[in-house]
Symmetry: C2
Subunit: 252 residues, 2 copies
């Protein structure tokens, strides 16, 4: 363990840079905050460095043998998070490596096209985990999954299934070549989701909050489906829609 | 139409008070912001007063015959909303009247117990609308449904179905006496939701983000159910869970 007293310490300055996406992308690491998220990261051996306030203790049940531990004044810990009531514990974690379809043997996937809201993205990662998906594929233009708000909404699910950046058209082609159907979501030109049978293998593609899935991508799916609106609302929240469809499409 | 130039005008001061729950409760009115929400409120004849920036025009298709219209400088309009990029239009709307079960003839309801997050509440109102529910019953301890964040998340669904404050135990008793089953959601002591058949009439009871539904209420339901977690996540977001269950339980 090392004790770092000053916010001006170069190590502390380097950690602070991880609050910006650019540095997260360059280093392949990201910050998580709070006991629950740090514990989930530790369980999956994804913690590089652990920083804890001098006023807090590492729970005895935790195994921190594989990471460097730093003790900091609590105001310095506070500088490493955007939460209003930081819990006094932060960790630098490793991002998921980029991986190809072939290396993974995936059967059930959620594909995301230009999702903008961090809460929606985090909620969908959490839902994909709950529904037993094998991975979430993040297409170009979607908000950074390692954004602190996304991490909070996902409640640790980042460490439970692979979150992979990828080209959606390439993934869709690979999936179809492996006989895994890709279902797009579209308000127009699709079929009611209830007309599809649950499956052991499938990919679900959902899209941007305002515009839905890119039209070009929708021409490359196996089929497109929609959720009927029985009342007067014009649409569903994308994370709610993803939840309804993932739980419907998966075989019990 | 009236032109009000000053933020110090007593009328403007009165409107500003509606940013606080206390004044909304006293007056039975609330503020909505933006063209979409105001349009939805107008369609349902729920607008008392309409305030528009002098830089904006009321769309020609709107019928504003039943409400008072005020023209204000745009910075004064901005004071009446908590949004960062106000659209220059705000309306004072009438809240739903308190109503009893008997007066309504409701068949499909969503009951909410101590939901804390405005985004979750708004999303559930929107989902209940989409799923064709007849009303949302808001129990004691739930965040104010007329909070601006709730209104934004619900995207106008407040005007599409009754949002009724009520005592959940009283409503549950009435529902059961009318042979409408009440399903509680519980992680422990319930059955998988897939073991229940879809119905024409039912009430679904969901609860607080951290603690779920009050245990005492769960003893008063017809049955309790849960959504299986197939991965490693410990729970689903409450709005996602409500969406999965409402779409599953309703008959197509």
């Amino acid at each position: 363990m090392k004790y770092l007293q000053s916010a001006k310490n170069p190590q502390v300055k380097q950690w602070k840079k991880l609050l910006k996406r650019k540095e997260r992308d360059i280093t392949g690491t990201f910050l998580v905050e709070g006991f629950h998220l740090v514990e989930e990261a530790l369980k999956e051996n994804r913690v590089k460095e652990l920083m804890i306030s001098e006023e807090k203790d590492i729970p005895k049940s935790w195994n921190v043998g594989n990471c460097s531990v730093y003790i900091l004044p609590s105001h310095v810990i506070g500088d490493l998070t955007d939460t209003q009531t930081p819990q006094g514990i932060v960790a630098v974690c490793y991002q998921e490596e980029e991986r190809s379809f072939d290396s993974l043997g995936l059967k059930k996937l959620l594909l995301l096209d230009e999702v903008q809201d961090p809460g929606n993205l985090g909620t969908m990662i959490r839902t994909a985990d709950a529904a037993g998906m094998d991975a979430v594929i993040i297409g170009h233009g979607t908000v950074d999954p390692y954004n602190p708000k996304v991490l909070r909404s996902a409640q640790g699910s980042h460490f439970h299934l692979p979150i992979i950046h990828g080209k959606l058209d390439v993934w869709m082609k690979e999936l179809k070549e492996n006989n895994i159907p890709v279902y797009g979501t579209a308000l127009e030109g699709g079929k009611e989701y209830q007309s599809f049978a649950p499956l052991d293998e499938f990919a679900l593609l959902v899209g941007n909050e305002g515009n839905g899935v890119n039209k070009e991508l929708l021409t490359q799916t196996t089929a497109n489906l929609y959720i009927p609106l029985y009342g007067k609302s014009e649409s569903l929240n994308v994370a709610v829609a993803a939840g309804i469809l993932l739980y419907y499409l998966r075989n019990e």
